[in-house]
Every structure is written in C-alpha cells, then in structure tokens.
C-alpha cells in the first residue's frame, strides 16, 4: 500500500485544536480526504492526540459511517426507509449489485469507482424511491435509471 500524506492529517488535527474530544470530527475530515480511514492515519492520530490505536479503532468501528476499507470515488446510498421500500427500492439495490458485481461482503466495485450502501431514511420520502450519489440526490429512481447513471459516470471517468 502506498504511504499516505500525513501532513494532511496533521492539518486536520490542528484545525481541531489537537483536542482528543474532537476525535469524531477529526475522523470525519480524514475520511473525507482519503474516502476511508487508513491505518497509517489512525496510528498518526493516536500518537498526536495521545490516544491508543485500540481506542481509535473502537470509535471508528462503532459508527456505521466510518470505513476502514477503501471506498469508491462515488458512494451510492440507496434509501430503504419505509416509504422507499414500498416504492421498490430493493430492485434498485439488486440491479446495482448485479451491475457492479457486488455481494453481501463486497460493497465496493473492483475499479474502486463505486461503493454501494443502504440507508434507513434520507428524509425525502415524497421523492421515493430516493438514491444519493455522493452529495447529489436522485428522486423517483428506477433500476434502469440507476444502471444508466452508472454507465454515464463510467463514461465520464474513462
């Protein structure tokens, strides 16, 4: 694994006053940069904040939002809240799983472009079924629409 740029981590820690009480915010910012929490970054934070790596690991694994595995460039969140569920969100999920060749243990596509997740509610039930790709919300999604979106992003990234 290529070594990561720890000066970025240093900057983040400084932005949060090098205070261990801000550990969650620090982890969020680190994840924003690397799209996951690299072990090297966590070890670095542990030294800088005088926390044990185990403690940080404990926090990082407690919250669903943190990932210790590299995530794709595009994070797709399919809403499976009640409203989206009855509006057929699962077929969207299944279509994308197939398209991206994912299974229950594999959430990120082999080309590292996409990570597929489900969320319990995105708070946009009127637009159900809803899907988010990074910060963009897509409403009234169909499996076909989702598949086309993947093709479109892949074409842009090629």
């Amino acid at each position: 694994m290529a070594t990561i740029d720890l000066t970025v981590v240093d900057d983040i820690i400084r932005e949060h006053q090098s205070n261990k009480q801000n550990i969650i915010a620090i982890l969020q910012d680190v994840q924003k940069v690397f799209r996951y929490l690299p072990e090297e970054a966590l070890n670095h934070i542990s030294v800088k904040l005088d926390m044990t790596p185990a403690k940080i690991y404990s926090i990082a694994t407690f919250y669903e939002n943190f990932s210790l595995k590299p995530k794709g460039k595009y994070i797709i969140r399919i809403c499976d809240g009640t409203a989206c569920h009855v509006k057929h969100s699962i077929p969207i999920l299944n279509a994308l799983k197939k398209k991206l060749e994912l299974d229950d243990g594999k959430h990120t596509s082999s080309d590292m472009l996409f990570t597929l997740e489900t969320v319990s509610c995105l708070g946009a039930c009127g637009l159900a079924p809803v899907m988010m790709v990074n910060d963009t919300v897509h409403s009234k999604v169909t499996p076909e629409y989702a598949e086309q979106l993947i093709d479109k992003i892949r074409a842009e990234e090629a």
């Binding site: 072990e39 926390m51 044990t52 790596p53 185990a54 403690k55 940080i56 690991y57 404990s58 694994t61 407690f62 210790l68």
Partner: protein, 563 residues
C-alpha cells in the same frame, strides 16, 4: 453521602458509598456482577446487579447513586426472572465446553448460572466459532468465551495505561480485539496479563506451558533446575487453603522435589545479584551525572512498555538483566561442565508470579546458540495445577530447604516481590545500612506502602538524591509525562507494571483484591524480618559467585546495547 437506604426492608447506612451496589453489599447481600470491579470505572453493561425500587423501577445498582430514604428490593420474582434470562442469553452464544475449559470451576458465568438456577438454555447457538488467538507468548484469547463485560479493556486502559485491547463494532458483531483486529502479539500489549486476572470467564487465560515442563522432568537426559521468585511463596498457599500472605517456600520446595525436579533454587539469589549490579550502576551514573534518572529493569511488563511507548528513554533504563535472567545465565554457566561430563542438558524452569516473564524468556537477548537462558516460565497458577495433577497433598508436606549453592537469599532479595522492594534493597546497599535502627528507618520512609507513586530522598556523598517508586503502568505513564514536562525530576525510579508489584502479578492465584495484595506484602516483609542476611552484598553466595564463576564475566549479568 450520608443517610440510609432501605435494602429489602433493612435500614442500611450509605456511609459515602460510591454506588448503590456497595450499600447493598454492606447490608450483607452479595448481588451478582460480571462487569463491576471496585478498582475500575463503572460500566453497567452486564445488568446482573439490577434492583427494583418501591415504584417498580428497575435499575443497575452499580451505576446508581444512593440517596437518603431510597427503598430497594434485591430479590423480587421479577428480578430473579430477569437475571436468569440474562444468563440464559449469555450462555446461548457461549462456547459451553465447560468440562475441558481451563477456567472450569473458577468461571463466574458457570458459578452464576448454577446459583441463579439456569438449568436449560432455550436458545440455539447461532454464532460462528471464531479462531482462538494464541499469538501472544503469555495470554490466550478465546473470543468464543467472551461475555463483553469489558473488564479486561478497562483494566488495560485505566490501571495499566496500555490500551492494547478495545471493544470494537457494535450490536451482534461486537467483540473485544486489539487495534485493527490484529493478533495480540502484533499489538502494543506488554504481556502483563492483568486482563486475565479480571476476566470472569475463560476468554482470557494464561498460556499454559505445563506439558513442556513435565516432558523435561520425565526425560532422564535433562537436568531440571527450578528457581522460585519471591512473590510466589506468599501467594501459592491460597490455592491450598492457606490465608493470603502465608509463606510456604519450604513446602513448595518439598512439592517440587516430589514432582521429580533435580534442583530447587531461590530467585532471591538473582535479586541479590541485581541489587549489587544495579547499585553499582546507579552510583556510577550519579557520580558521572550521566543518564539520570535511572529506571529499574526488573519488570518485563514495564520493559515492554518503555520499549514500545518511550524508546527514547531506554538509555535511562538500567542495563541489568532481571533477577530471573541473571540467575538463569548463572545456572547455565554453573552446570556447563557437568552437563558435558554427564551428557545431560540443563533445563531452567522459573516459577514466576508473572505472565510477562514468559515473553521475557523468549527475547533474543536472553537466547544463545545453546538455547534460552531460562527455558520455561511457569506462573504460580500453572505450578498449582501441576502440584494438584501430581496428587501431592500440599497442606500435609513437611518443609524442606532449597538446594545449595543457590538456596540462600538475603532479606533484601526477598522483598523484590513487592513494590518498593528493589528501591529499599538498593538504599540498604547505597547507604551502607547495617544497624537495626537504620534498617528500620528506611522501612518507615514511603519506600513501603501501596500508593501508586511514592517519593523519597536519600543522602549520598553530600548530594540529596530523589527517588520515585511506581506501581501500575498508568502511574508510570503519568510520571514519565511529568518528567518530560519538567514538572518533576528524579535520580532513581523503580517501576513495577502490576499494582502492588510482583505480588499482584497476573500469574498469581485469584481473586486479587487490595486486601490480598497487602497480606502478601506483609508475608514478604515478614520473610525479610526473619532473614539473617539483610543486605545483598553480605550474602556469601554472592561473594562466592563474584570471586569464582562471575570473575571477569560480570558482563553476562547485563543486556548489551541498552544505552
């Protein structure tokens, strides 16, 4: 807090108890707990200590602050049912191979399931069997027997300041692991084993080396030499019905001989060598003014801690081997020629109160082409198992003396087993203390006691030397931080990883409460009182060694390149 709580109709004084559980226990009711340990922070996870108040509200007594006029019930039908249900659920995904579990009959889960009347588990175990972590030289971690009480995690972090393990994930996938889910051996674990001394089940146990030692004993080609550490003799009796602190060295020697061991020696000799070497080193450093403060190096848990967390301090750590390793190398040297003549192989077995000694014995600096200086380390508990396995009736044994020439240690060597012991022995040497009065004066300084950090000063060649005595690695960590910030300064610092020193080591019989530790300390100080030789350099064995076996070879007592 003053006032009274009505516990099951009985008025019970609060007396500044820190929680409701303590009040209830003072009323003579032993509420069951898995996750409550008076020396650790309150966790409130196991829910076994639940009580009901007069309005039918259920609360965990360990995490409830008592107030005056509180009315609680500890044994209602509802509480009994809930406790049974909790136990049943814990047992549902527990590896229930009790008959072959090393913790059997000492397991809290087993005990409570029995006393709370769980006779049937209605739920099927649907958890997948996880691999057992045998990577550590000292501790075996079996996640299938973990009940998530978190005692080990809090012990590691709050008392030891190591924080090698944590509770990771949540919900059904929650587990106790080292950082990044790695094996224990790849973590910052210092092998002190205190996690295992609070684990209520068989999830954390001592790595057992009994088979190897039995094999050596049964091999006529092997000369099995056993050395016994000071702290063992005042604790091992607990497993055979003696009160904590009872000195049973004589019976221990007799038991080992019965088991077929060739020679039984006293690690106190190793301690005497350490005092001699370390005092010389200390005086030399003080005179030179170099690498001060001097940290002691006897404790393997502390050594591992300083190596991983503060490697920059290593030049300040004494180059002395630990007493066990000094003695190990001396014994191997002593039998070298005899081994060749008789075509036998000397096997060094050390009986230690400590799990970290197992890791120490495996270090490359204590290994030569001929093998390890100390071949096997058995903890007090493992030796108990071997004695019981042999059918030896420990209580009925007649006392026997250890073998010569290494059977006679000084009082200074014996007190190595308790926090402050190394310092006291070094002070006896430095200050040339001979008279009874001087020895007593030393004993009354803060050198004795159980506080985590103790300080004293010492006059030497017109200088006032500052000494600190630390037990518990968290305290050592705090002291080092203060040292680095310049808040404090010392000339000599004794560090013992475990609370109370070696007497509180994780290889000792359980449970280890502060009362038990104090009784064991008293036992060691008692052994010092009756010892005819008080100072290490007055031990004739030491003199003989320096004039003979060690002549021109003193370097073998040190670890090269620690500076």
């Amino acid at each position: 807090m003053k006032g009274y709580v009505i516990v099951d109709g009985i008025k019970t004084a609060i007396n500044d108890a820190k929680n409701l559980l303590e009040v209830i226990r003072s009323a003579g009711i032993e509420l069951p707990t898995f996750c409550y340990h008076s020396e650790l922070s309150t966790f409130g996870a196991c829910r076994m200590c639940i009580v009901e108040d007069d309005r039918g509200r259920i609360m965990t007594s360990c995490s409830t602050i008592p107030y005056d006029g509180m009315v609680v019930y500890t044994n209602t039908p509802r509480l009994r049912k809930y406790r049974r249900n909790i136990l049943e659920l814990l047992l549902a995904n527990h590896d229930r191979d009790c008959t072959t579990c090393i913790k059997s009959s000492r397991c809290k889960l087993q005990e409570l399931a029995l006393t709370m009347g769980v006779r049937d588990v209605r739920f099927e175990n649907i958890t997948e069997k996880k691999p057992v972590d045998r990577s550590s030289p000292s501790i075996v971690r079996d996640p299938n027997k973990c009940i998530m009480c978190g005692e080990c995690v809090r012990m590691c972090e709050e008392v030891q300041g190591v924080g090698a393990i944590c509770i990771a994930n949540r919900g059904a996938s929650i587990e106790v692991v080292a950082a990044y889910g790695k094996p224990l051996a790849e973590s910052n674990c210092v092998n002190c084993g205190q996690c295992r001394s609070v684990c209520p089940t068989g999830a954390l146990t001592i790595k057992n080396d009994n088979k190897d030692v039995w094999d050596a004993i049964n091999d006529p080609k092997k000369r099995v030499i056993v050395q016994i550490a000071p702290a063992v003799r005042v604790a091992i009796g607990e497993e055979f019905g003696e009160a904590p602190g009872t000195e049973v060295m004589g019976r221990l020697v007799a038991a080992l001989r019965k088991m077929g061991v060739d020679e039984v020696y006293d690690t106190t000799i190793g301690a005497d060598l350490t005092v001699t070497e370390e005092t010389a080193e200390f005086i030399a450093r003080v005179r030179e003014g170099k690498n001060i403060p001097l940290f002691t190096s006897c404790c393997p848990g502390w050594m591992q801690f300083v190596k991983t967390k503060y490697p920059e301090l290593l030049p300040n750590v004494s180059t002395c081997r630990s007493p066990m390793e000094m003695f190990g190398v001396v014994i191997k040297e002593y039998f070298k020629d005899a081994d060749k003549e008789e075509d036998r192989q000397t096997v060094n077995v050390a009986i230690m109160p400590c799990t970290a000694k197992k890791a120490e014995a495996a270090l490359p600096e204590f290994t030569t082409d001929a093998g390890r200086d100390v071949d096997f380390v058995l903890t007090t508990q493992e030796l108990c198992m071997m004695i019981k396995e042999s059918g030896i009736q420990f209580a009925e044994l007649s006392e026997e003396a250890a073998d010569m020439p290494f059977g006679l240690g000084s009082g200074a060597g014996v007190i190595f087993g308790v926090t402050g012991g190394v310092t006291e022995s070094v002070i006896r040497q430095v200050s040339n203390a001979h008279s009874k009065e001087t020895l007593r004066d030393i004993a009354f300084t803060p050198v004795r006691g159980m506080n985590g950090i103790r300080e004293l000063s010492l006059e030497f060649e017109g200088q006032t030397l500052r000494v600190a005595i630390v037990n518990g690695l968290k305290n050592a960590d705090m002291l080092i931080k203060k040292l680095k910030s310049g808040e404090v300064s010392y000339d000599f610092i004794e560090v013992m990883a475990c609370t109370g020193g070696c007497i509180g080591g994780a290889g000792q019989p359980l449970p280890q409460t502060s009362e038990v530790r104090e009784a064991r300390a008293k036992g060691l100080y008692g052994a010092d009182s009756v010892a005819q030789i008080k100072r290490s350099e007055e031990n004739p064995t030491i003199e003989t060694l320096y004039n003979g076996l060690l002549k021109g070879k003193e370097h073998i007592l040190h670890v090269p390149g620690r500076h």
